[in-house]
Symmetry: C2
């Protein structure tokens, strides 16, 4: 009988896992410097937790089932609802609460490039701060992350403010802002004609539809586009423009402004965003969005807590891997081993074990023969695990209290006394 893994689920063997671990480490090192703290929440929650925020449609795309105690449960597709659950019940947390977590998430949907059924995701959130400083910190940590992954130049971070969009739409005399925003959210998939048609379908006249189109086409460097917007709204939306300007100043201070663009078409369909929204795109436009996020000040309340403002983002491992591979910056990790200790015969086992043990005590990664192999088979194995040095333990050398140390890169061999070998090798 042959067994296969489920479609959309991945096996990571050591070299692939080492690459992934390297990526996670880089991301986490950045977020830790910003003062985010690691948390971990359940992989499974009651299904109702996801219905609150997402409605039934999205729950349909999750792994949801009835457990043996007849509870409806869901494998988490994202961690935000769980975080909201915790925040709604833990009243004593010192705000701002800055959390990150890299863990697995699941979605039941058609698998395709960049879309898997099981994936890793890093969630980064600030809870309890509605300030523009918090917005800036979230964008700064995101850009820094892209920098650490060597893809800053390959991406752009498109930001927007939903309040600003609403103000500008209002200024244009548009009432059904929410409906218009939904159309804007779908714009990417439409031609200009289709876009205008959709806007007319929801009741905008041609002139207003064209105004909306003009607005959502605003996309470019923050300073420049802010001036453009100011002219467009002439005196309105002051508060929103002021906040955006402050954001610009802070991003400049963080040294990340160059990677950030204002793009009025970014609204992020999900209704729960309340201010800043952003997405990270591959500049070449070949890949799905790499990351998305924004401000969602009303979410925790929805889960029965007090109002807790929040801003954050989530980044999955699938699309960023595609991007990094395309850019040639995905880490190709090989197995590495500090020392392989090679017993020439069974008779030198005791000495071999002692050397192995002493070297591991020095925190070196050490392997030895577990298969009673001959010298050349052992050297092949040592090579396959990337051993830097091989210590050859032979009977005759041992009689003189010595072992041979072979440098696997240079091929150089040296006789070293047993007493000195640990000191010399480490």
């Amino acid at each position: 009988m042959k067994f296969e893994s489920l479609k959309g689920f991945r096996d990571f063997l050591p070299e692939e896992m080492a690459a992934r671990r390297e990526i996670f480490d880089r991301v986490e090192n950045v977020v830790r410097k910003f003062g985010f703290r690691e948390i971990d929440l359940p992989s499974m929650e009651k299904m109702e937790l996801f219905e609150v925020k997402s409605g039934e449609e999205l729950v349909d795309q999750t792994y949801s089932f009835e457990d043996k105690g007849e509870r409806k449960v869901t494998l988490i597709p994202e961690q935000t609802p769980s975080r909201a659950r915790v925040l709604a019940s833990e009243k004593s947390l010192n705000q701002p609460v800055k959390w990150y977590s890299t863990s697995k998430r699941w979605r039941y949907e058609q698998t395709q490039k960049g879309r898997l059924r099981e994936f890793y995701q890093t969630d980064v959130d600030i809870f309890g701060a509605d300030s523009v400083e918090a917005d800036a910190e979230i964008i700064a940590v995101l850009v820094e992350t892209m920098r650490e992954l060597d893809v800053e130049d390959a991406v752009e971070v498109l930001i927007n403010d939903r309040n600003l969009v609403e103000e500008v739409l209002g200024k244009e005399g548009i009432q059904d802002k929410r409906e218009v925003m939904e159309v804007i959210d779908d714009r990417e998939k439409m031609s200009r004609k289709e876009f205008l048609g959709e806007l007319e379908d929801i009741g905008l006249d041609r002139g207003k539809a064209e105004s909306v189109e003009e607005i959502v086409c605003i996309s470019g460097p923050l300073s420049e586009k802010l001036r453009e917007l100011e002219r467009l709204v002439s005196g309105d939306a002051e508060e929103e423009l002021e906040r955006m300007k402050e954001l610009k100043g802070l991003l400049e201070g963080y040294g990340v402004l160059g990677t950030v663009k204002l793009d009025m078409s970014i609204v992020r369909g999900l209704d729960y965003y309340t201010g800043l929204v952003f997405e990270v795109f591959d500049k070449k436009g070949e890949l799905r969005a790499i990351c998305g996020g924004g401000r969602y000040d009303e979410l925790v309340e929805l889960f029965g807590g007090e109002e807790v403002p929040a801003v954050g983002f989530a980044i999955g491992d699938a699309v960023i891997e595609e991007l990094m591979r395309r850019e040639g910056v995905w880490p190709e990790e090989k197995l590495k081993t500090d020392v392989y200790v090679l017993p020439v015969s069974k008779s030198v086992r005791t000495e071999t074990t002692e050397i192995v043990n002493d070297l591991r005590d020095e925190d070196l990664v050490v392997e030895t023969d577990l298969k009673d192999r001959n010298v050349s088979a052992q050297l092949n194995y040592a090579n396959s695990i990337g051993a830097e040095k091989v210590i050859i333990v032979g009977e005759r050398d041992l009689e003189e209290g010595k072992v041979t140390v072979k440098d696997m890169e240079s091929g150089e061999e040296k006789l070293i006394s047993l007493e000195e070998v640990v000191e010399k090798v480490k």
Copy 2:
């Protein structure tokens, strides 16, 4: 509306997570030194994968359900079947294959002390080596792990060899070895009388039942108990005794023999073990088994592969946490922050952001105000996140190109010039 997490699932907030991360890091540092490599396999597999090894009864204790594509799937309760699946299909792996993984597992069973529905488990295996050296390495890495967790003195590692048990039972003229082993496996829960009764129930006469009882009572230091066994079997079971003696020598070489005992009652019920078996117990006998493992040379074949000998163990996070807490060695982690940069007013934001940014560039963990708070509220927050230093950025100091650096432990404050502050603080 109030939401709760599912029973048997845990939320880990930052301090608890930091403790857990510390534990995982210690465990993984040990296993890495032994040359084990990290892998990661799916959290979900086809249910049939678990039926092969465990039968339907155990599958009943898992989270198994039908997915939306009508596949019967299971959230993994352990990683061994998945590992066997990979080994059965990946023919090109360089043996020995030494794998570890710390990840989540799920079981649907009554929650109680030490038994949760979601838990972390570290699996450590050597595949492709049937040698006693591999057995020794597995026990050595396990004892080293207990040492790193500061519980070596609180536990004992009870080892046995199922082949040895079978030989000894054979010597006593017992035919139904498997049935007898099942009774032995349940012995812990029985009185002596019940144990003898059960053996008689499966057809042993009183004399043989008492012989079995005598055998399973053999428990103690390896050298001593080996001599006892040798007398008992007088000339039989030579191969098994020889292997156990070699194991003893190797464990001595690894410096772990003192923590290991031979215990003939350890057979580990699951049928698939083929030689060495072991369990780690709390010496005080208050807790469940902390860890279990052994050799299972026939498992990979069962999954459609070639024969691949295997030896390994799994250790969950729940019981070890109980033990470490009882022994007072569970790490109580507090939030730590290198620097909190405190803007006295909104007007010094730009300079604050720059200092924050420069310090983070030096890989320091740095936080700043995100809530427009006054000085004393900020100092309270800095305290709550364990800030070592606070840099106070005030308008007047800034006019002289200076900031105040406060050491939070000593309370000492110093005026330092802006140019020097990063250098001085790091």
